[in-house]
Symmetry: C2
Subunit: 221 residues, 2 copies
């Protein structure tokens, strides 16, 4: 059974190149000249150009007019800004969720939070990471603002490569779960300021533990 991939070559290039950037085949600062990429991926320069522009708009590469593209070098300051912006956005979503979630959404959030407990007991970092994404996404959705949710989710995914080891730190799982608990409690309470503060604290703590260091390492290349 042949599942044909009806994406265009440029679409696939976006995935392939970003993968190669994220797993280190291309390091920050590396030149990405169109001809080499075209040969490497077996296509012509045209879709390569398109893919590079798209990657630029997502922040992964930097195109300088007439001077070619390079893998974006994210400085430590820029990375801190991105993490900071994400924390604020997440906190805003939490605040709006506290104000506006429907009773059904609140019940679902509570139930989902409870369902994460076994993963903590089992120290299942991978399972928890997956559930964590769902948890946060529920809160984006609870803000009832698709654009805000999109921005926030986009930023989260952009920062994903800098957070790989997130739940490996010993003791991080139960702490994260407890912080989630504070967020959930505030949202269920319709406590806007509390939800904002709890989420801001949660996201900042997660970032502040040791993946900042990992990130810094990644930046230095």
């Amino acid at each position: 059974m042949d599942i044909v991939d009806d994406r265009t070559r440029a679409d696939r290039l976006v995935s392939d190149v970003s993968e190669d950037i994220l797993n280190g085949a291309f390091a920050p600062g590396d030149r990405l000249d169109e001809l080499s990429l075209a040969e490497r991926y077996g296509v012509s320069r045209t879709p390569v150009r398109e893919a590079l522009r798209r990657l630029a708009s997502s922040g992964l590469v930097e195109v300088r007019p007439r001077r070619g593209a390079i893998v974006a070098r994210i400085t430590a300051e820029k990375l801190a800004e991105l993490f900071g912006a994400m924390a604020e956005l997440e906190a805003t979503c939490a605040r709006l969720s506290a104000i506006g979630m429907t009773p059904m959404e609140r019940r679902r959030l509570e139930a989902f939070y409870a369902s994460m407990e076994p993963l903590v007991s089992a120290a299942d970092a991978e399972g928890f990471a997956a559930a964590n994404l769902v948890f946060h996404t529920q809160i984006y959705a609870g803000a009832h603002n698709g654009h805000l949710a999109e921005i926030t989710a986009g930023l989260r995914s952009r920062l994903l490569p800098y957070r790989c080891a997130q739940f490996r730190t010993p003791g991080r799982l139960p702490r994260s779960h407890a912080e989630h608990g504070a967020v959930v409690a505030a949202i269920l309470d319709a406590d806007a300021a509390g939800a904002h503060a709890a989420m801001l604290r949660h996201v900042s703590l997660v970032e502040d533990s040791f993946e900042r260091l990992a990130a810094a390492r990644a930046v230095r290349g």
Copy 2:
């Protein structure tokens, strides 16, 4: 004296096409086929394609794979989401400004706010609109997070076409100025929650007056 424009054709197309969209030469939903655009602007399809993709990433057009591009139809709900997201982002910048602005930034903001008073007295809507942008931009900068500032400014500019008549409403100028005053006072007081609330209120009020109606009209085409 010839000031040559060293922008690439695609760069110019981005400006030209977005202008033509914003002033109504192309209406929402109109097809933007590459050949017609190429002929219209006297270039080949290649830079047209690039411009269309870039406009898509900024939300002005919508490209459907293999099915061409159309001028984005912003629904009323989507527009409300965009305004809502902007309000939240602006409020967040205000909150961070209250917390983190340097003394110099605070003095500048206060001085700039004072300098807007004459424009209100003179009922200079155009001058006020220009100063208004500067005022808000100062607050984006005061958040000390370049990425957040960029997102917020981007959203503001994207919404600009839906806010043309902003300060024409009778009485809007003094009211806006008063609302700015509340924001400035809270920021100078380092009152995070107050700054957030004041800015949220300000932006929401501005939007809620009558340009939502203008926007709805624009959407209906």
